[in-house]
Amino acid sequence: MAKKLIVSLSPHIHGRDSVQRNMYGVCVALIPALLTSLYFFGIGAAVVLLASVAACVFFEWAITRFILKSDRLTITDGSAVLTGLLLGFNLPSNLPVWIIIIGALVAIGVGKMTFGGLGCNPFNPALVGRVFLLVSFPVQMTTWPVPGQMGAYLDAETAATPLAVMKEAIKSGDASVLQKLPDAIDLLVGQTGGCLGEVSALALLIGLAYMLARRIVTWHIPVSILLTVFVLSGLLHLYNPVYASPVTVLLTGGLMLGACFMATDYVTSPMTPKGQVIYGVAIGFLTVVIRTFGAYPEGMSFAILIMNAFTPLINTYCKPKRFGEVVKK
């Protein structure tokens, strides 16, 4: 025979799903949020996001090329771009570029590549970067520019975020402080201060809908987080009106961004639907606990990182139901 036949084991066809499709799919899902952040924060947002994405991609390339001495081109798989975008979304729009670069180095270098690159990192790299910055540069990381300043970057005016108001209300024990909060519609569309990605809950929800439609993520994690937060903060609100109403809690801060995009990260979340629900409920619980009783106004990133650490444990104990298995009672 002139030509050798190819032999391999079945299956001989593939579903054409790929890492790129999923990673860039998430990036596409972030576009509404990207546009709203550009709309509200203007140049500042553009500079922060560009710097973050560029730095993440550069560090991934440099580390693979010069430290791991690998010829594999991993930056094209889209994971570094996504980490950069998510990191940028977690930063205030008036953050100097040098801090962003440090954040990107920690996110990619420490959060991802030290563990072996894509698929091996136990913690969400973007969150590792963000938390590192939050702990190292608490002042810069917690002064939030007021939306609507198109041309401003480092010189942008800042104001207290809704989360800070909520914290203040709890500390003072005076429910009237909460009246300073913007109403739910503003929170949904995005007329409030905060980091880039958390301005508009609506834009994030559109992104989530897109990801669900393309089957990039399943509903388990986002829904279980949001539902838990809603129920718990609702109970607290009923107990004492000093705690903000559950709708406000859902729409403020990084909760939406975290629930839709950070907690659903493939690598660091559990594999089985049952495990994902446990993971989501625990994140929701921890977030409410940290927001209400902790020192920081925002608890989402800490909650996700803590649950990332539990993911292997959840994977070990939450087995899918085997076919034909008789459930023991």
Partner: protein, 447 residues
């Protein structure tokens, strides 16, 4: 609409040959009969070089209970008994027959008339099983398990229903679909024979609803056969898996091995097998020809052939307009579970349901990337296993870990690898781990 609950995927169907009526393939110049056309002990040759055989003559007889005889599909002279690379990819002993004319054994009833069970009230269950074995019938969906073994429920078990597997969930293949459209009455009589053999009065025919014409035709015809019900099923791979089909139709799940379908009261037979059973019992015709789909994106005329067992695949390809230029891979069976052939001289065997010619571009696997732990394989596995874990355990030779996570339950359907975004060759490793673990378990049980 019914379907199974856990996992599953939706490969694109590509049933190019669905409208091509079954046509007879030409006689080969030389037919090759592997002695390993079924699971179990290989058949023992009873002919020698130079013997003259007819169509239907026994070439090799069954060696034990889990074994079936092999019949000649052609008339002519035995040329030699030698090893040949068959569809399994291994070199195995086979009987070579040089074809001369087309002379059939007289015992075979070649009339096209339908014979129903009512016309043969003398047939007992034992008689049916005996004839099925004597005619060398095996599961024709691809597993090639000797049919009479399934029709003989082990002691302590009781069959409650017969399920006919007419799902044909593999993409590209249309052999069963065409057979249902062209021989509906024969198939229905076949079902009554199986029901009689295992002593039940309920029979289901499971058909996926991408074959509405077959569903309509069989539902209409089945009205004349009490106890037989056609069950339309939602399209989902691997619905044709025995366990998935039982779950889809009866809602019962067969427990992990060593449990068999009979433990939930089901006897499953492929629709092609059902037709073969009809011919064997009513027409005394041994299994020496079968319907096989020859298809592929570049194939000129994708066709369904009624081909004699032992015909070289190359001949069928010729009859479809020749081997396309850019062929990279030739698969015996469907694209999800079929086996890539080593060469084109491989003969058609009892389990050959299709021949799929894939282009070079389609056949290459993508470059594997690191596992991103997305869990899509876990979601796709119809057995509720964790393929990513089993693949890693097998690759690292951690057999005890693989066994602990039920690697032996894997049905090798390929859904995990099909769905993996990182294109990891999961099933390669799992299959290797499964065979190793099963060997270890056997060795342990033997002690």
């Amino acid at each position: 609409m019914k379907t199974f609950k856990i996992g599953g995927v939706h490969p694109s169907e590509n049933k190019f040959s669905a409208n091509a009526p079954i046509r007879k393939a030409g006689l080969p110049k030389q037919a090759v009969f592997s002695l390993y056309q079924h699971i179990g002990a290989p058949a023992k040759p009873v002919v020698a070089k130079g013997d003259v055989v007819k169509v239907g003559t026994v070439l090799a007889e069954a060696d034990g209970f889990v074994s079936v005889p092999v019949h000649s599909s052609v008339s002519g002279k035995v040329n030699k008994i030698d090893a040949v690379v068959d569809a399994s990819g291994y070199r195995r002993p086979a009987i070579f027959v040089d074809v001369e004319g087309d002379d059939w054994e007289e015992s075979i009833d070649r009339t096209p008339d339908l014979v129903t069970l009512a016309q043969r009230p003398d047939l007992t269950a034992e008689e049916i099983v005996k004839r099925v074995k004597a005619c060398g019938i095996v599961g024709m969906g691809g597993a090639t398990f000797p049919c009479h073994v399934k029709l003989t429920p082990p002691k302590g078990t009781k069959a409650e229903c017969v399920i006919i597997n007419a799902v044909e969930c593999e993409p590209y293949l249309t052999a069963d679909h065409r057979l249902m459209l062209e021989k509906p009455d024969e198939i229905l009589v076949g079902v009554t024979l199986i029901m009689k053999a295992v002593g039940v009065d309920k029979g289901y025919i499971g058909i996926e609803n991408n074959k509405p014409d077959a569903i309509a035709l069989l539902t209409e015809k089945a009205k004349a056969y009490p106890g037989i019900e056609v069950v339309p099923l939602r399209v989902k791979y691997p619905q044709g898996g025995e366990k998935q089909l039982i779950a889809a139709i009866t809602g019962r799940e067969v427990p992990a091995p060593p449990a068999l379908p009979i433990h939930v009261g089901a006897v499953v037979q492929n629709v092609g097998t059902t037709f073969a059973i009809y011919e064997a019992v009513m027409k005394s015709k041994p299994l020496f020809e079968r319907v096989i789909t020859v298809t592929g994106k570049d194939v000129k005329t994708p066709s369904n052939f009624l081909a004699r067992i032992g015909t070289p695949m190359a001949q069928l390809i010729e009859e479809c307009g020749g081997l396309p230029e850019a062929t990279g891979k030739v698969i015996g069976g469907g694209p999800m579970m079929g086996k890539a052939l080593m060469n084109l001289d491989v003969p058609v065997c009892k389990g050959s349901s299709g021949l799929l010619l894939m282009t070079e571009k389609e056949s290459r696997r993508g470059e594997p990337q690191p596992c991103i732990r997305c869990g899509k394989c876990v979601g796709a596995c119809p057995m509720g296993l964790e393929p990513y874990l089993l693949a890693t355990a097998s690759a690292l030779r951690k057999w005890d870990l693989a066994e602990e996570h039920d690697i032996t339950s894997c049905i090798e359907c390929g859904s995990c690898q099909y769905t993996c975004p990182s294109m990891r060759p999961m099933l390669d490793n799992i299959r290797m781990g499964k065979t190793t673990v099963m060997a270890l378990v056997r060795a342990r049980n033997a002690k």
